[in-house]
Symmetry: C2
Amino acid sequence: MSPSTRDLNPSQRILLGPGPSDVHPRVLRAMATPLVGHLDPDFIQIMQDVKALLKPIFGTNNDLTLAVPGTGTAAMEAAVGNLIEPGDSALACIHGYFGERLAEMAGRYGATVTRLELAWGEVFDVGNIEQALSAGDFKVVTLVHAETSTGALQPDIQEIASACHQAGALLILDCVTSLGGLPVEVDAWGVDVAYSAGQKSLSAPPGLSPITVGDRARHAIEARSAPPAVFYLDLLKLAAYWGENPSYHHTSPISTMYALREALRLAHEEGLSERYARHARNAQRLWDGLTELGIDLFIPESLRVPQLTTPLVPDGVDADEVRHRLLEKYNIEIAGGFGPLAGKIWRIGLMGNSSRAENIELLLSALSHWL
Amino acid sequence: MSPSTRDLNPSQRILLGPGPSDVHPRVLRAMATPLVGHLDPDFIQIMQDVKALLKPIFGTNNDLTLAVPGTGTAAMEAAVGNLIEPGDSALACIHGYFGERLAEMAGRYGATVTRLELAWGEVFDVGNIEQALSAGDFKVVTLVHAETSTGALQPDIQEIASACHQAGALLILDCVTSLGGLPVEVDAWGVDVAYSAGQKSLSAPPGLSPITVGDRARHAIEARSAPPAVFYLDLLKLAAYWGENPSYHHTSPISTMYALREALRLAHEEGLSERYARHARNAQRLWDGLTELGIDLFIPESLRVPQLTTPLVPDGVDADEVRHRLLEKYNIEIAGGFGPLAGKIWRIGLMGNSSRAENIELLLSALSHWL
């Protein structure tokens, strides 16, 4: 019997890495609902539901709020690919891998990219960014809210957005790990484009990724001299499909949309402020427990992302060996660091439905055997 | 109670449009399996299974065979965006909407596009294409195997591929509707890049789209002077993620991968030649029944796609009204024509799990009331 003829039977994991997170049984059941067509009146209503459920989580009234038909990288690409035209100038704020990826994408779409770099794990202050803005004439600034590669939370988004606007630039904010686990206030902060992913703090399966686009950014997209290279992620075409009278653009990932809708309903049933409080409470529990085990944390407490904790690997400990043992012995997934942080940190996610007291207790207990 | 707080409860449809098709219960159950991570050893094995299951369906031994993390348009874009560099010349063979879309994409990626056009519903003969090839120096030729907008099946793919190669061009073949419902022989025909979609004749849910890339095309991608604009669909990065030692590129749509694997297993359990025979048999049944109802078919029998039948709307009949009645009264989805065929044809899909005698009997009986 070849592997591909065996019944599907993946291991039962506890997902405590940087995403995907554990999906609630109600979301799994929703996903198993038989399909309707992508232009069915019932499906159009489901998309409108998703849009309505997403807006308060983004803290926005932006009409151009939808879920891109791909994973978080697709949403990142939708943001960059639609705003950048060849020859534009972009200021890429880089303090980890995903800031780097934003810079790479901007370059691929033809931008002249100015890199504003910090060591991985640090965060920008407004002065850094103001100074960089004053040295050029930028159309777009890219910034990561919660860096999934480091666990650092960028503060002062409102002040940074304001500095961008004073300099005539638009702010793209990566909220892949933050959205759904801590407050994101797109309108109050003045963020021009924010995007996320279903499979992090929202605990939907990967395959649809929320994005919201404000008026300034929308006008910039409408004012392009030519459409973006990327047709699949063309935001004006996506917006037309997500409108009240949809026009065909692509076949939506229907089952994943069912799942995202259910995951968003769960978030609203819990209540957004209670959800954020749960993430914060459970993060504190993990941090305290790790500290008791003698493990230091990479990011200072005031800058930590509650959904993603990055303990420093103690001297003499093999980071990958611990990770493999957790997976093999207890079916717990955590991740390692990469790039300059390879072997130096672990990445422990307490995202969405994975942010549970029992998971923390289990992980701390399992880790205690080897540390 | 706002719409978004209601339990998910879409109508129970019978999907006889141009995709998505009805998904088998086993596939729905597979999709409801709890998730593992996108770099989990179990998931890597699942991806290898999918690759192994796809190859015989594409009729290929290409190592670069995988499923793109998006719907069919994403696979189309992966093909075009990776092969075209700004300034390249492309010959776009257009005999329907999807040929048009390929031309648009090639233009967006900076190609000089020569359009070889036929009326929608016609097919190319090798001479047409040879003549067009001789008038230029083309890097890429784009062609649609089974035009989802017309129901016409392009014959002579092997001869066309050979003409392309003699002219030094690579052939991209759109197999979105054909793959899984009729023989596709990428290696025997000499097709350089072929792609499809999960939700047509394979009856997986939308969200992953098979693609296969031959050596000539792979070398052309490796020889690019700069990487493609589109990062999310960068085929060399996707190939690295689908390799034996995967490197992170994006978070795969895990649940959809479970579903695709199960759909592919079902195809192999049925047997590919029996599956193609079933599609042909059921198509004939539908064609005979429509003829008995006095309905003419748009495409001559020898050129019909068995998975997608396009009846001409009889004089005096409102195409949309019939379509809406079928949906409202019997929960049957069929599609209308669009572009130059709007109001002139219907599009009836008998794809994958939707290709069933009971569906045909029901549809013909329902149609007979109004025609």
